[in-house]
């Protein structure tokens, strides 16, 4: 069976979407399009340029004085009005939406400015002076565990915030008895399905009622509403959260807007104005949210014929600088399906969660799936390699058999339905695997690099709200009380003219929920689709909702659409009773067709839907006794299968489990290392399909994002915590040219656990595709340690080894003595001027002279005789930025020598260093000798050494020329002017 037959005429059909007319004509209503109160002010956020630093002082005077600025707030101001956000594990840490005494990732909010408009607010950000004491940063999750690693949260005393071990079945026995033990180690990178619309929040505060009213393009889960209310220190009914009618994509990411809900709410309160904040792209990529990176060691006990009898997982999860709700959910969402699509009875798991100086993590399409399946499916391929078996046979041999459903996994999951082998076989036949294999053989015969990869995964959907409590010990859970279930809600209402409105708490971001709900409810009530109108905006003050509400974990089709069907069925039953009396038949004979209710045995005996439906409004006295109104019906539905974790840590983490089997052929360009996806086949069992066009749209969209994750996308960090991919020119999202068209196949086995038989489908390819492509690349190259993204440079390294040094030596190699990841530059040089030592000395210590000769200086201020502050604007390559330099003088021997030390800060980078200047009398004037050492971090350091050095040379040249001119003419700068010194100038550090 490929597709289930459609029965009622609407469900299962690819109808045009009701959403599209507005979106195509520019009439969408996204958050930044909504009308706001006339007195709305605008929020901008100052963010940390450092991965790890103490904040010793924040001076906001100049920012406050700027005309148009309404309020400036620091972490201390926010903390006075809020509480720390709830942390999901037992640990002595706080989690604030803005830094207080320490910044722990680049982009962490440090100060807030509210102003009349965004332009002025950003001007004011430039005027805030923050004194940072930089600290060593830790980026690598394994290094974060080292005894001498910098600790992010001193109260915690370690970066390891949670550790749990699990044991299911008898893994030790299975490993002892195994014919083979095969293991693999994986480091899965950071990435994000980053939507094209960024975050947005509009917040108001009513001091009379101590109540907040916030509109945000939040996506759920609304369990986060509780976190927000608690942080704002108000009961839930005084934290009204609304969502806009349209949202420009999310893919999980917009869950992460909630810290900004708190910040904007406080900003509105402090400034006594409604406040609006729209995140910009740099903010979004740097600091919104990210998927977790994870280091996994996975070992399998395998029989001689390739049957896996046990798995042993060791997962080290990197959640970034703070454990922000609902983390560490990424690590636990898959807990019930850690055995994937396979029947494996014995499992051991060690889960550790570590904090590093990176952006805190959160929801991201696939949520936990890409990380586990990359390890599991790479391992399955490796088992094939080591046992000299076809990996496809290893997959087939281990799949959960068709007669085992519903199948209880070792870790407590309940796989609802499927016939995995049949689906796999259909995929290989219809996807023409044989032809692909011949193609591989032919390509290899010609010496080309061609590989085939497979991946079999189960795609969980409809999360159990209790799964995250698996992170607690059974004792801790017993104390806290059980958490389970997943309330879905839908309301069907009929107005006095008999037209139908559906209201849900599903908060879509483009998934077409309004269309599918109209299909479902119209079919149930025998109406044309356009007689049903659907509203998916959510208002926590007026609408029915619960903690599971929202758009995540692929819950719409299985849970929300199901709840709508149940609500429609309840109304339908009552309408049938009312109509039965009017038609003079029994209710079971009433049928709903084409806008009428009729006697199925005598279709001429009919009454219009509107007339029956209106009775509850116009003539409630005519309703048969015992029949409730048909005005409005709200159904909450939570599946019984979603139970709390057992005492033995068994957890059915998700209600539904779709099945996906993918295979692909890739060719690698031997010269460039470019990976080209030649053919991609993806087979899905997502239960009953409600709208084939949308299901394929979800598959293609997830696939395109997965291609990005496999080949292009990575949130890259320097060793000092600097963020290196802050623009869409650095973080490479596939365009149409990089996105092949997959062959999409379906195998429908309805879920017995959902009202409509549907399972989720939105995330599967984000789980299956990266590893499928990686397996194909491994097959092509014979390389085991495959790391993503598979960029040409990385693939070339596997092809050719590391890049050889050029035949002609480059400039002198900088001596690296700074923190890892910073660019170290040292050097020395000299220049001659005609002035006396005394006058040069005076010049170098005079702010006015310095302002005149430092390229790009706006201001040089003398704080004390030995302390200067400078503001400079400099462009380095494409990166033009404003920097603030802080310079202190020491070891002064007037007029001979002085040591300069200090640091410089800007949004685009930072630097620090020391330099010794010596003035020597010559026959014609003065020779200035320099010796400098500097470390450069942040985005500017990522523009590349040659560019940086070149820019430095220009800037230093300008400085010397200006100095020479100022000193009354004289020799131009020495060609060998100090290298490091140039750098200091570059950053305006040169007083």
């Amino acid at each position: 069976m490929t597709r289930l037959e459609t029965t009622g005429g609407l469900i299962g059909r690819t109808v045009e979407r009701v959403e599209d007319a507005g979106l195509l004509t520019g009439r969408g209503r996204y958050i930044d399009d909504l009308p706001v109160r006339r007195d709305t002010a605008h929020l901008a956020i100052l963010r940390s340029p450092h991965g790890h630093a103490g904040i010793s002082a924040i001076n906001t005077h100049a920012a406050r004085a700027l005309p148009g600025v309404i309020a400036v707030m620091t972490g201390a101001d926010v903390a006075r009005l809020t509480r720390s956000m709830t942390v999901g594990v037992k640990a002595n840490v706080e989690c604030w939406p803005i830094a207080r005494d320490r910044v722990r990732y680049v982009g962490e909010p440090v100060a807030l400015v509210v102003a009349e408009n965004r332009y002025v607010a950003e001007d004011a950000l430039d005027l805030i002076e923050v004194d940072y004491e930089t600290l060593a940063a830790v980026i690598d999750p394994e290094k974060a565990l080292a005894a001498d690693a910098p600790v992010l949260h001193p109260s915690l005393g370690t970066n390891l915030i949670n550790e749990r071990a699990f044991r299911y079945g008898d893994p030790e026995k299975a490993f002892a008895a195994a014919a083979h033990r095969v293991s693999i180690r994986i480091a899965y990178p950071r990435n994000s399905c980053t939507p094209i619309e960024t975050y947005g929040v509009i917040a108001e505060y009513d001091p009379g009622e101590d109540a907040y009213d916030v509109t945000a393009n939040f996506q759920g889960p609304f369990s986060i509403h509780a976190v927000i209310s608690r942080a704002l220190n108000v009961p839930g009914n005084r934290m009204r959260l609304r969502t806009p009618p349209d949202s420009g994509g999310s893919f999980g990411i917009k869950q992460g807007v909630f810290p900004y809900v708190i910040l904007a709410a406080v900003a509105a309160r402090v400034s006594a104005r409604p406040v609006k904040w729209i995140e910009d792209r740099l903010e979004h990529l740097t600091a919104s949210v990210s998927a977790t990176n994870r280091v996994t060691t996975l070992e399998a006990a395998v029989t001689a014929d390739g049957r896996i009898t046990a798995l042993s997982w060791d997962q080290l999860e990197d959640c970034g600088a703070h454990l922000r709700a609902p983390e560490p959910a990424t690590l636990y969402r898959m807990h019930g399906n850690m055995t994937g699509a396979y029947a494996i009875e014995n499992v051991a798991i060690r889960n550790r969660v570590v904090l590093t100086n990176k952006t805190p993590t959160g929801l991201n399409r696939g949520f936990g799936g890409p990380q586990i399946y990359f390890a599991l499916e790479r391992l399955v391929h490796k088992i094939g390699d080591e046992l000299l078996l076809d990996p496809l046979d290893v997959i087939r041999r281990n799949l959960v058999p068709a007669d085992a459903f519903p199948y209880r996994t070792a870790t407590g999951g309940l796989l609802d339905s499927g016939d995995y082998r049949a689906a796999l076989d259909r995929a290989t036949t219809e996807g023409r695997l044989d032809a692909l294999r011949r193609q591989r053989d032919a390509a290899r015969a010609q010496g080309r690099l061609y590989g085939i990869g497979y991946a079999a995964v189960v795609e969980p959907s409809v999360s159990n709200m209790g799964y995250i409590t698996t992170v607690l010990t059974p004792e801790e859970r017993a104390k806290a009380g059980p958490k389970n279930g997943a309330q879905a809600v839908a309301t069907v209402a009929i107005d006095p003219l008999g037209s139908v409105t559906v209201k849900v708490a599903s908060v879509p971001q483009g998934q077409g929920h309004r269309t599918v709900l109209a299909q479902v409810v119209a079919e149930r009530l025998g109406l044309a689709m356009d007689k049903v109108r659907v509203n998916t905006e959510l208002d926590t003050e007026r609408d029915a909702w619960s903690i599971a509400s929202g758009n995540y974990a692929s819950r719409f089709a299985p849970a929300v659409a199901g709840a709508a069907a149940l609500a429609a069925d309840r109304i339908r039953a009552r309408l049938a009773t009312i109509a039965a009396r009017q038609l003079n038949v029994t209710p079971d004979r009433v049928d709903f067709r084409a806008g009428t209710l009729l006697d199925r045995d005598n279709p001429d005996n009919a009454v219009s839907f509107g007339r029956v439906a209106a009775a509850s409004h116009w003539a409630p006295g005519t309703l048969p006794e015992g029949t409730d109104q048909t005005i409005r019906e709200t159904v909450f539905w939570t599946p019984d299968e979603l139970q709390a974790p057992t005492a033995a840590d068994g957890i059915n983490s998700s209600l539904c489990h779709g099945f996906i089997f993918d295979f692909c052929g890739v060719e690698i360009d031997r010269k460039t290392g470019q990976v080209r996806i030649d053919r991609y086949v993806t087979m899905h069992d997502c239960g009953r399909i409600l709208h084939p066009g949308m299901v394929d749209g979800q598959v293609r969209g997830g696939f395109a994002q997965a291609v990005g994750a496999a080949l292009y996308e990575e949130y890259a960090y320097g060793g000092d915590g600097s963020f290196l991919t802050g623009t869409l020119a650095d973080y490479l999202i596939p365009t149409v040219m990089e996105t092949p068209e997959p062959l999409i196949l379906h195998y429908e086995t309805p879920s017995p656990f959902t009202p409509l038989g549907a399972k989720g489908v939105g995330e599967g390819n984000c789980m299956s595709t990266p590893v499928c492509i990686a397996n194909a690349v491994a097959d092509a190259l014979g390389v085991e340690d495959i790391r993503l993204p598979l960029s040409p440079s990385r693939v070339s390294e596997w092809l050719y080894g590391e890049e050889r040094p050029p035949s002609k030596p480059l400039d002198q190699t900088p001596v690296a003595t700074g923190a890892s990841g910073e660019r170290m530059l040292t050097g020395s040089g000299s220049a001659e001027v005609t002035a006396t030592r005394e006058s040069v000395w005076a010049m170098l210590l005079d702010p006015n002279t310095l302002k005149a000769i430092i390229p790009g200086a706006h201001e040089v201020r003398k704080v004390s005789d030995t302390h200067f502050r400078a503001e400079v604007t400099l462009g380095i390559g494409p990166v033009k930025g404003r920097y603030r330099a802080d310079i202190r003088l020491s070891d002064m021997v007037e007029p001979e020598t002085v040591t300069l030390s200090g640091g410089t800060e800007g949004a685009l980078g930072s630097g620090r260093g020391t330099g010794r200047v010596t003035l020597t009398e010559t026959t014609t004037g003065t020779r200035i000798d320099y010796r400098y050492e500097a470390a450069i971090g942040g985005k500017v350091a990522s523009v590349g050494g040659r560019l940086l050095d070149g820019a430095a040379r220009v800037v230093i040249g300008q400085f010397f020329q200006a100095l020479a001119r100022h000193a009354g003419g004289g020799a131009p700068p020495s060609a060998a002017a100090g290298f490091i010194q140039r750098l200091l100038h570059l950053f305006g550090r040169h007083r």
Binding site: D20, Y119, Q509, E741
Partner: protein
């Protein structure tokens, strides 16, 4: 161009969707902000503010242009067209828009206005555009929802329809 004071707003006269408009803008104001926040045409979306994503694409003097990389003052005397003007009748979709709906060429719709404005130029200038032309043209736009295939199909269908209308006998 006269020298303008950075601290003040200056008038910007231009043609917007066929009508003459006079707006006021500081020198540094972006065209995207002028359209969205001063004039109130919010169909043009801002996705990256550095010219990569293409969501803000409008037509200036008939050419596709990034509104986020254009200063409002640069369109003085110019002719700007936005997604709001693609269909002559607000109750109807243009053939290109209708093709997008028919082929599910959008999901969240955020990138869509920019894509429509780009394709509109392509189909006007190159009525014979085929799949590869369309793909190349679309490569200046990022869409995070659809995986692009349905966008290409929609554009191909619109091109085909346009060719049929122009040569009814062929």
């Amino acid at each position: 161009m006269p020298r303008m004071n950075a601290a003040r707003k200056h008038p910007v006269d231009f043609t917007l969707n066929g009508r003459t408009v006079r707006a006021e803008a500081e020198n540094r104001m972006l065209l995207s902000d002028l359209l969205r926040h001063e004039i109130g045409l919010t169909g043009t979306h801002v996705g990256c503010e550095h010219g990569v994503c293409g969501a803000c694409t409008v037509q200036i003097d008939g050419r596709p242009a990034r509104a986020c990389l254009t200063l409002a003052q640069q369109v003085r005397g110019g002719d700007v067209r936005t997604v709001e003007a693609l269909s002559r009748d607000p109750a109807e979709l243009s053939p290109l828009q209708a093709a997008f709906r028919r082929h599910h060429g959008l999901q969240c719709g955020f990138c869509t206005p920019g894509i429509l404005m780009s394709l509109d130029v392509l189909l006007r200038e190159r009525p014979d555009a085929g799949r590869e032309d369309i793909r190349e043209h679309l490569s200046g736009h990022l869409c995070r929802c659809t995986g692009y295939a349905t966008i290409v199909e929609a554009a191909l269908a619109a091109a085909e329809e346009q060719r049929k209308e122009e040569k009814p006998n062929v």
